[in-house]
């Protein structure tokens, strides 16, 4: 279980402080968790805070351990994080790029076990053919998949993914979500998504942040994804139906500002 206990964060600029969220308490159980919310709700900020890239007030715990008090090395040992924006490009082969995901293990010589884990992760994502290619030559979606491999290669206990399906084609989106859902039972996976239907289809648990960074609601997809929520949080008029697995399917109709 990963818990944030009354965490607050504000961006400081010359014009003053801009709070992103205040006293946010939210729990994530092992399995596929999704964070939904409109632009600027603080979804990415929340992931960065959990990973320890931002200084926030409050405490985040993993089980009984206090993540907030940990240093960088201790945190990266069991957590991995995929940032949203990836403009990086470098003269490395895909295999080397994935190896970087195991940075603490790498020494003067790369061990076979690290190479095997890296190749295995590429296979798991069906891109083992790309291994010898130069990263800079890949397409946007391929690069994204390589970065996902880099995030998964360490077998982390907590996986934080910020919009991992962006720039992936439909098949890859479904495959990735399927893979994440079927990762080991005790791994906590927290994913920021914009596609509500994809989230409803695969997530075990959904948390919704509203415009002010407050937790509007959390629970199973059926509990959370409702016409009322879509109206209140996203400001859209939509109809919600249910598929054969009783998971919600959203058809958006129009913005309620129009």
């Amino acid at each position: 279980m990963l818990k944030t206990e009354n965490i607050s964060f504000a961006y400081k600029t010359r014009k003053g402080k801009f709070p992103v969220f205040r006293d946010l308490s939210i729990e994530f159980a092992p399995g596929f968790n999704v964070i939904l919310g409109p632009n600027g709700a603080g979804k990415s900020t929340l992931l960065k805070s959990i990973f320890g890239l931002l200084k926030y007030k409050g405490t985040i715990r993993y089980g009984k351990e206090n993540i907030t008090a940990m240093n960088n090395d201790e945190r990266t040992k069991f957590m991995s994080y995929l940032p949203q924006m990836d403009i990086s490009s470098s003269m490395l082969t895909v295999l080397e790029m994935v190896l970087l995901g195991r940075l603490p293990e790498l020494g003067r010589k790369v061990k076979d076990i690290d190479l095997e884990e890296a190749m295995g992760t590429l296979e798991m994502l069906n891109i083992e053919d790309l291994a010898p290619r130069h990263f800079a030559e890949l397409s946007g979606g391929q690069k994204k998949t390589v970065f996902i491999a880099q995030t998964l290669v360490r077998n982390p206990k907590v996986i934080l993914l910020d919009e991992p399906v962006n720039s992936l084609d439909l098949q890859k989106q479904l495959e990735l979500c399927h893979l994440l859902r079927n990762l080991s039972k005790d791994t906590i996976i927290i994913v920021v998504l914009h596609d509500i239907n994809l989230a409803s289809r695969f997530a075990k648990h959904i948390g919704v942040l509203d415009d002010n960074g407050n937790l509007y609601g959390s629970g199973s997809p059926k509990e959370v994804v409702t016409e009322k929520m879509l109206n209140k949080v996203y400001g859209v008029i939509a109809s919600v139906n249910y598929d054969e697995d009783d998971r919600p399917v959203v058809s958006a109709i129009k913005s309620n500002r129009q």
Partner: protein, 351 residues
């Protein structure tokens, strides 16, 4: 997760082959460095045969003045060419890495213009900043100001929030500042002093001696070891900052470490042999094309190519006009410019 990963062992033979190729390349370049080194000892106003060189080096005996020529003049000069080249190669490699900019070099940070200003102070106003003996005054001045500039860049980069672009901007500002200050000195100087400053700027190996070599070599050795220990973190620095941080790299810390180490290397190199152009830009670029950006190879290869470029320039500088040694800075620039232009026009796909 492990069970499914173990479906197959994953064929990574190509990676082992890649590593073998890179090691062979390192050995090849090391051989070229050694050949150029021996060539540099042999070429000069009185050419020496290979046999004679080895006799002097290994037995300490030789014909006429040969022992003196090899031991006191050619050996320190040729070694200096190697080490200074390696220093500039490493400096360029790491500055390009931390700034993620393939045309950055220690010059970008304003260190060289600061050194030039220091030298100008000594040559034109006779200012002896460190109160040292006349003979090393210019070097000491250049070094002091190069270090001053690096401390400025370091202090600036330590401020929270100073990203790679602001560091580049700060370096450019320092560059302009020190160039303007140098111009003020040039404006008030007489013809004789102006001439010596122009010559200092062209760079020269001629004032090399053993003491200078040991200082530069020590700095090179120390910096290389520290950087090599951080090879993987530096490799991760080729990614976006947030991305590198997500892999557990303290980007601010790595950036500060690189700035202080490379400034020191550049300060020593430039203050001893003058402003040598372009080596810092072209060496890492060639190295990157050859082995990519795995720093376990990128770093030593940049050093070797830097050593090759300066040694080769030194050989050429002695051959163009027989009996005359052209300023090495001119030769490196003339060799460097065509390569530099190729970099600009072939940059697509890199960073």
């Amino acid at each position: 997760m492990n069970d499914r990963l173990r479906m197959s062992k994953g064929n990574h033979d190509f990676y082992n082959q890649l590593i073998r190729k890179r090691i062979l390349l390192l050995i090849l370049l090391l051989t070229i460095v050694l050949v150029l080194f021996v060539l540099n000892i042999s070429i000069g106003s009185s050419p020496l045969s290979l046999k004679e060189i080895f006799r002097v080096i290994f037995t300490g005996q030789g014909e006429g003045h040969n022992v003196m020529i090899v031991r006191d003049i050619r050996l320190p000069m040729s070694l200096m060419a190697l080490t200074v080249g390696a220093c500039l190669g490493i400096g360029g490699c790491e500055i390009q890495t931390i700034l993620r900019n393939p045309i950055a070099s220690p010059y970008t940070l304003g260190i060289t213009s600061a050194a030039t200003f220091g030298a100008a102070l000594g040559l034109i106003l006779n200012t002896n900043v460190l109160r040292v003996s006349e003979s090393i005054m210019i070097t000491a001045n250049a070094f002091t100001f190069a270090l001053l500039a690096s401390i400025c860049v370091y202090a600036f980069s330590s401020r929270t929030g100073a990203g790679k672009n602001s560091i580049v901007l700060f370096g450019i500002a320092l560059n302009f500042l020190f160039s303007a200050l140098t111009m003020v000195l040039q404006y008030i100087s007489d013809d004789e002093d102006l001439k010596s400053l122009v010559f200092w700027n062209m760079g020269s190996m001629l004032k090399s001696n053993w003491t200078k070599f040991f200082i530069v070599c020590g700095a090179l050795f120390l910096c290389f070891i520290i950087l090599y220990k951080n090879a993987w973190s530096l490799t991760a620095m080729t990614l976006d900052d947030t991305k590198a941080q997500s892999l557990g790299v303290d980007t601010q810390k790595v950036r500060r470490m690189v700035i202080i180490l490379t400034s020191m290397l550049t300060a020593f190199a430039v203050s001893f042999v003058g402003a040598i152009g372009f080596v810092g830009i072209i060496s890492p670029h060639i190295a990157r094309q050859l082995v990519g950006e795995d720093q376990r190879f990128f770093l030593p290869l940049s050093a070797l190519i830097g050593a090759i470029v300066v040694s080769l320039s030194f050989v050429i500088s002695k051959l163009i006009i027989p009996g005359v040694i052209l300023p090495i800075g001119l030769v490196t620039a003339i060799v460097g410019i065509p390569v530099f232009l190729t970099i600009i026009f072939r940059r697509t796909g890199v960073m």
